[in-house]
Amino acid sequence: MNDLLTRDMLVKWAPLIVLIVLVLMFALIEPRFFSVRNFARIGISSAPALMVAIGVTFIIIMGSIDLSMEGTVSVCAVAFAFCFLALGGTLWSAAWLALPLALVVGAVIGLINGLVHVKLKIPSFMASLAMGFVGTGFALLLTGGDRVRIEDEAFRSLLTVRWFNFPIMCYVALAFLLIAWFIQTRTTLGRNFYAVGGGEELAHASGLNVNRVRVLGFMLAGVFYAVGALLAVGRIGIAETATGSNFMFVSITSVVVGGTALWGGIGGVFNTLIGVLIVNVIGNGMVVVGLPGYVQDGVLGLLVIIAVVLSTDRKSVDFVK
């Protein structure tokens, strides 16, 4: 039993070990990598990505997939920016209402996404892919292609004000990570995600309203995408149609690298935290150690494969598609 235990433990902790090894590796090549200031930089680039990745984590635990995040993030960012400016343009006015409103917008998009998937019986891959197009398109319709600048110092304090060397947005992300963890472990909905991912038909036969869980899952994901959108706007002070770009592949890669299985039922939001950090450490580290731009994509690919290989419990997996 003992060696079984250690193998279990090894697989469980593999993503964290990979992260530590990567950090040490980059630190050895370039000592400046290993500094609080740089960790803060990695934190800043990770914070929005973490929110989006947490959103999709819930979906992946259910054994589904969500590819609509780019559209959802853009719509939420743009909707937030317009409302924020319309309501006064500073957090010290009614404009703070734009924050919860953005979350509502995210939830509504998630709701539509879930309904299309569940009611039209379209596999989530296709439904959410198409909804992603709709979302990006809608954001474009709203902005007409323009950028919206958010200059409010109070809102931008997400980036500019630091506590213990880390900007506020890192703490916001951390807070939402804890909320996600709470939902995952302490609420019925969170546990039902695992039930659906572990055996959808069985869950249904046990009287679980699987469709309701699915739709709620997509709504919850939408809310987290909205948080990601707010942080992304907080980071660069601009909301635009392209705010959501590149989130799709990065977030799903992060989730998988963190050890959440694409076939559902295994993993969780802390895995995703590790995954997001791994991906961002690689991204930051490659530039810091001075890799030429043209090899970066290839090196990222290689490192991702290695990370996933190390964190896969090969004996529990029969086949992979």
Binding site: R41, S45, I236, N246, V287, V288
Partner: protein
């Protein structure tokens, strides 16, 4: 003299010259048209006008399109008359959209296009010529493709030589750095021509500043968020060694500024490119030392106008000299001194251009290396 004044002056002079020389060149053709001398050309009547471009998410293309719309409005038509072909960064979609439109309009089309990637220009031009329609290209084409090889149908190509202007902004930057220290460059998509030229501009300038080291140059893909991340990685690697940042365009500069802001660095010398309204504001505030305005509004309008007027026979492209078929677009430098003036004359009030003054503000024939 500020760059802006010079530009405006130059343009006015051009316009005056044009009026004076009305009996010659372009003016002559316009005159011919007004006299109603039916052109012998198989010119088109009331062709559709289309602009094919990358996307609507970039302010640059919005400016281009606004020019195209201003042009069709100058014809007394509504904005909607302009057909938009959006390729979303896909050369494949760009080409097939053009072909669909040629089929839809039976070749009765005046097309202005940026073909997304240089190699895509050839098949686009070939299919337009085959359909008997007229096309003017902007930015992307390969060096071996020339309008004069296609008779009248390939009307013109406008591009910008970014190397010179980028060198000029680089000098502004390097001077601001006091001629010493370290500079980093954040580029566009590595294989894009403007990205290459703008980096070359920096390198050329650096030759005269032996005490400045080019610390690093990485692609940021014209993307604000990516630029933000690359810049923060640069800060880790080089820290205080960085005393200046050279950005390939304004969107990259936004990301760089925010990365610096996160670190509480407010006084880093930065230069960029494109002259977006937002960037002009930042130049005015002194946060960016210089940017280069390429007047996309005019570029977008005039490219459509060239194709349109060639199509309806206002002039015959094949009779025009080569410098009227391949030419550089205008460039205007914006520095903190003239940002306010620039804003007043180009952003707050978009100038009304004479869309038949095809080559006035242009910048000479395109030279190949």
């Amino acid at each position: 003299m500020s760059f802006i004044k010079k530009f405006i002056e130059q343009e006015t002079i051009n316009r005056r010259n044009l009026l004076l020389g009305a009996a010659y060149g372009v003016g002559g053709l316009v005159a011919a048209k007004t006299l109603g001398a039916g052109s012998a050309q198989a010119a088109l009547t009331d062709p559709a006008v289309a602009w094919s471009y990358r996307n609507r998410t970039n302010p640059y293309w919005n400016e281009i399109v606004s020019g195209g719309e201003a042009f069709v409005e100058s014809l007394g038509k509504s904005k909607d008359f302009l057909t938009h072909l959006i390729n979303e960064g896909s050369s494949e979609k760009s080409l097939s959209d053009v072909k669909s439109l040629l089929a839809k309009t039976n070749g009765n089309l005046a097309l202005a296009i940026d073909t997304n990637d240089a190699p895509n220009a050839r098949p686009v031009v070939e299919s337009v010529a085959e359909a008997g329609a007229y096309v003017s290209t902007l930015w992307n084409k390969t060096d071996d493709l020339h309008p004069w090889d296609f008779g009248d149908n390939y009307v013109s190509h406008m591009s910008w030589s970014d190397e010179g202007p980028a060198e000029k902004t680089a000098r502004i930057l390097l001077d601001a750095m006091g001629g010493k220290g370290g500079v980093v460059h954040l580029g566009g998509i590595a294989s894009n021509n403007p990205a290459i030229e703008r980096l070359n501009g920096l390198k050329n300038a650096l030759k005269d500043y032996p005490d400045v080291e080019l610390l690093d140059a990485q692609p940021a893909d014209w993307d604000t968020q990516k630029a933000n991340q690359v810049m923060s990685s640069f800060l880790t690697r080089y820290g205080d060694e960085i005393t200046g940042v050279h950005c390939a365009n304004d969107t990259i500069a936004y990301g760089v500024l925010e990365a610096l802001r996160a670190e509480g660095i407010e006084d880093m010398p930065i230069v960029s490119y494109d002259g977006n309204p937002q960037a002009v504001d930042l130049v005015g505030q002194g946060k960016i030392l210089a940017t280069v305005f390429t007047n996309p509004h005019w570029g977008g309008g005039i490219t459509a106008a060239l194709a349109y007027h060639a199509a309806i026979g206002s002039f015959k492209p094949s009779e025009e000299p080569n410098e009227h078929r391949e030419f550089y677009g205008p460039t205007v430098f914006i520095t903190p001194d003239d940002a306010a003036e620039f804003k007043k004359s180009f952003i707050e009030n978009v100038p009304t251009y004479d869309w038949t003054d095809f080559w006035g503000p242009s910048n000479g024939q395109i030279m190949y290396k």
